[in-house]
Symmetry: C2
Subunit: 496 residues, 2 copies
Amino acid sequence: MSQTLTNKEITPRSKDYSQWYNDIVLKAGLADYSAVRGCMIIKPYGYTIWEKMQQTLDKMFKDTGHVNAYFPLFIPKSFFSKEATHVEGFAKECAVVTHYRLKLDESKKEIVVDEEAKLEEELIVRPTSETIIWNTYRNWIQSYRDLPLLINQWANVVRWEMRTRLFLRTAEFLWQEGHTAHATAEEAIEEAERMLHVYADFAENTLAIPVIKGIKTANERFAGAVETYCIEALMQDGKALQAGTSHFLGQNFAKAFDVKFANKNGELEYVWATSWGVSTRLMGALVMSHSDDLGLVLPPKIAPLQVVIVPIYKGVEEMEEIKSQVLPIIQALKEKNVSVKFDDDDKQRPGWKFAQYEMQGVPVRIAVGKRDLQNKQIEIARRDTLSKELVPIENAVDYVVNLLNEIQKSLFEKAKKRLDENIYRVDTWEEFLDVIENKGGFVYAHWDGTSETELKIKEETKATIRCIPLGNPLEEGKCIYSGKPSKQRVLFARAY
Amino acid sequence: MSQTLTNKEITPRSKDYSQWYNDIVLKAGLADYSAVRGCMIIKPYGYTIWEKMQQTLDKMFKDTGHVNAYFPLFIPKSFFSKEATHVEGFAKECAVVTHYRLKLDESKKEIVVDEEAKLEEELIVRPTSETIIWNTYRNWIQSYRDLPLLINQWANVVRWEMRTRLFLRTAEFLWQEGHTAHATAEEAIEEAERMLHVYADFAENTLAIPVIKGIKTANERFAGAVETYCIEALMQDGKALQAGTSHFLGQNFAKAFDVKFANKNGELEYVWATSWGVSTRLMGALVMSHSDDLGLVLPPKIAPLQVVIVPIYKGVEEMEEIKSQVLPIIQALKEKNVSVKFDDDDKQRPGWKFAQYEMQGVPVRIAVGKRDLQNKQIEIARRDTLSKELVPIENAVDYVVNLLNEIQKSLFEKAKKRLDENIYRVDTWEEFLDVIENKGGFVYAHWDGTSETELKIKEETKATIRCIPLGNPLEEGKCIYSGKPSKQRVLFARAY
């Protein structure tokens, strides 16, 4: 069983899941801690994965009619306060700029903040950009002809979290935030749902992470939204992870920033809004969905390097022979848009290289030795199952191309099976507790629809309502906690 | 003459050059003012140009062995102070984060900074990232095997400028900053020079902006650098614009952050460094290099849209006929990677569209009417010269492809001619003043090599030494200002 293999640099999942996650993030070169509290450094290998996510999503956004723009990092405190729910949601985690100059304190011989350079109005480092963007849209939107406005921004944002974890929860993170403006509520809702489907498509077909699409309860809604749509994924430890959200904002921000348009009859109406975002948090979801005790496991579509070829040789002559045999394979793979590296570094032994590429989650590893060449075959290993096969050299290219597709598919199916098997339909509080405490996964149970009950369940079990699935059937029942009448089941879980 | 044509939304250059620039940036949809002092909004059309710059540069960086990563937005004040020259250079223009929470002031009923959430150590919003990056490199570099480290970052930075101008000088701007670490001074210098050449190549061959490569005097050097290399361009109003810089940092940051490596003999040495960057300032250079009184003029290689086709028609039938004729042309152009749009919007008249695309600098405009089709020809207009030609439909695709190349080349040559004609070799102070005050452009004159003289010239004329050109010949002479002996001429100009 693959699960029993270990790498001594990585704590096994069974021993300490949380440490396992940190070990992979650090040892595979995805991210590093920084000297700034709660801020991470995204290392080159991790950043390359993020770039691939960006490229794929960016194309999906553009294919659905969106354009990119860039808005200021800073938000005046007064803007921030204009939408009441919004400021309430974010006020407690804001980095605040109060001064714009340092100076040398001659007596202490140190650099200090220049108190004379105090800002008249404090600036908030954006935790999200609805306010600064809707303040701008007021100038950009006059008539129905200016709508819809379909804009996305790739940016860094800051939320001063008290407990941080690499990728999953950091004070500064990278994300994209779409902000669209529409003439009707229907059109805005359609947009919010469209982007939810784009996110689900990306998570499932690129990251191989199956998700449940749903809507949030009022408690879990984005601060300022009328409706929050989300995709929820399930990690290997049975905890849920919110992988993306899309909000129908109603006219809340249009009213707060007085953004009106003249409709076809010349009447002024407030504009309807959506916003939607995914972040570097997806990196955490990616790690926790597929990886094992040997390190990272990456779906081929998001892997910076899809295939590595490691020569097993003694001396220059054998190396040259191997090279001459594999170069045509490399060439042919590149022509099929497969990223491939021939690792001829002579400072490291093959065993060390194998462990390294396993750690980094390279989907396919090819080993080529002298004897293999004599038999006109090469050894092809897949990272996800750790199985190996001897393949005739002449079939190698097609074999690898098929294998990459197979790995992509197989990773999704494995994760989908885990998700499906870990949704528990329960009808008693005892069963609920048993799943939450002992099994992990989602609990699909009746809820009386009140925030009060939801909060009590959270207090007692740390489980929250992750979502009400889209297309959820109505069903009469009794609330799992209060016993009061319920109209539908919802999905509970402990979550990241 | 094209120069006499005007667009009533744009102030002519002859009337007010500075206003002309602002008009184009605003009216062509490149950027907008924001509610935050000194911060701009990059609008979708402007951002698309910036994305094209990023894509081209990013490929050039990767082709020269660099990888991307991401470091924190915030820098602890103490880090910032470690390199003495560096902090001196940036201390006066820093945005400082002092608190991490807001709260509701119950008595005033307003949101205020929570004084209980004061940071122990203030955080500086990065104006550049040498300090936070070199503090990280200490953990990443142990041995010569870890070198070179060739990392680039795409990021936003903040420098609290007092007088700001869209793209040219903004409090927040977007840029890339390369930060490399090397085992020897020679290798670091080679890297700094390599990246200077990459920048020059990009400016000239993609943006069609000719540049002079050179080194800065001590006065104009980056704060913390041993040597600053730069590319300098000349705008249409005769002012110079620094379009990119590359710094050899010596061991300054390695010493400040104690970054040492074991060399091949096992001895510890300080690491050698470079940093290099270009920013959204290039957008300003692009506008001012090529545009005219009708609006933006864009080199085809950086234009978001290269060709627009405008139908001149009456009624649905004519439109359908035109469409059937131009669709194969559009298809063929797309296959040749030409971006093309067929503007069949029936809410606007052709004349309005012509003016709009001229404003936005679309390099080639094709107009097709019923009579043209009868003659089996279409009208192709180029934005840069405003000339038009009737071209047989069957030749249209090849003609357009050649024309795009021709426009790219021609824009560069026109700008190159302007640059060459505006470098004045002068030997007297009177001539110097005449060029600076009346002609504009670069003055190539003797200088005694002292910062004192350089600063006096700046004080009296606002002209600074833009650079000492690479490969500048040594030549005995007398300083234009002090009359003292000089070993070489240098390039002076007023600059943005």
